[in-house]
Symmetry: C2
DNA sequence: CGCAATTAAGTTGCGCACAACTCAATGGCG
DNA sequence: CGCCATTGAGTTGTGCGCAACTTAATTGCG
């Protein structure tokens, strides 16, 4: 067990602040850099994430996209509509299951992949961290995410 | 210099995905836990951050709150209005500088601090990480944030 | 002094995240 | 078979984040 050491509440409060402050700040700093990098692609950061999934997977029902990105239809439906309006994706009811909507890339959407090719390298450079540190950061974030997700049900009931 | 090693674009693209995916996921996972923990305080997570600043600093102009949290008036003005409507803060034009609005805690706002006392410990427990790892996570996040902020101007022009 | 530049707060508009809901299609069980 | 619970997508409403803008007060410089 990784129980919390005995520390005064004041210290915990300070640490808590630093963590939530830091995560918030980092998240928004990433957003700011992505906003600049994606500007001439005409994509927002969440739209870019959806495009990444589609570039890798080819075509997917909305449900699957949501599972990859932890987003529900309330977020994805309007976002996909905007991507469709921009001519980057198609949305079609699945013939096998009329409840499902399959999202696929248009020619323009697939072509955008080339223009987005520089984004990852520029982003990694902008972080200023060596690749090893980034890998460690990712590992810590993933561990926290798993633990937090597992904790929510307990907190909701208990 | 921490230059990027020579790696194929495909690998960079994958790493990039993992980092942005991970940060996004972690950020929203934190948000989910905070939402549960703050529910009976009647606060959202950003509102909680503002209250933390006020509990620590006593009273501040909107500008200073924004500097602590990296938020502008476009975000803070409506948020502070909601806190005022909830009876937690007061907003008053500063007599010395009529442009500035001083935000201070009401009695209810100050009293809420006690009820929020359990939040940090419960959150730290929910992360499932020992305090040392959290400190390291925070350090990595802060380094990334500084680097990303510094990179934005270059990206915007160059 | 007087006027232009700057500063603080607020407003507007857009997109995202999420809860709560509707609606239609599907699946399962008596 | 028929009915009801479940599932997938979409809609509505609220709040946050940010860019671009407005307004009013202040500063500073000729």
């Amino acid at each position: 067990m990784t129980t919390l050491p005995d520390r005064p509440d004041a210290e915990l409060l300070r640490l808590d602040q630093q963590i939530c402050f830091s995560l918030n700040a980092a998240s928004r700093a990433f957003g700011g850099v992505y906003r600049v990098l994606l500007k001439d692609l005409g994509l927002t950061y969440p739209q870019y994430l959806v495009m990444l999934v589609l570039w890798e997977q080819g075509e997917l029902p909305v449900k699957r996209i949501g599972e990859h990105l932890r987003l529900d239809s309330g977020t994805l439906s309007p976002l996909l509509k905007r991507l469709e309006a921009a001519g980057l994706v198609r949305r079609e009811r699945s013939p096998e299951d009329e409840r499902s909507v399959t999202v696929s890339l248009t020619e323009d959407g697939a072509a955008l992949r080339e223009r987005a090719g520089q984004v990852p390298r520029r982003l990694l450079t902008a972080t200023g961290l060596p690749v090893d540190d980034l890998a460690e950061l990712r590992a810590l974030l993933d561990r926290v995410t798993v633990a937090l997700d597992a904790a929510v049900p307990d907190l909701t009931e208990g």
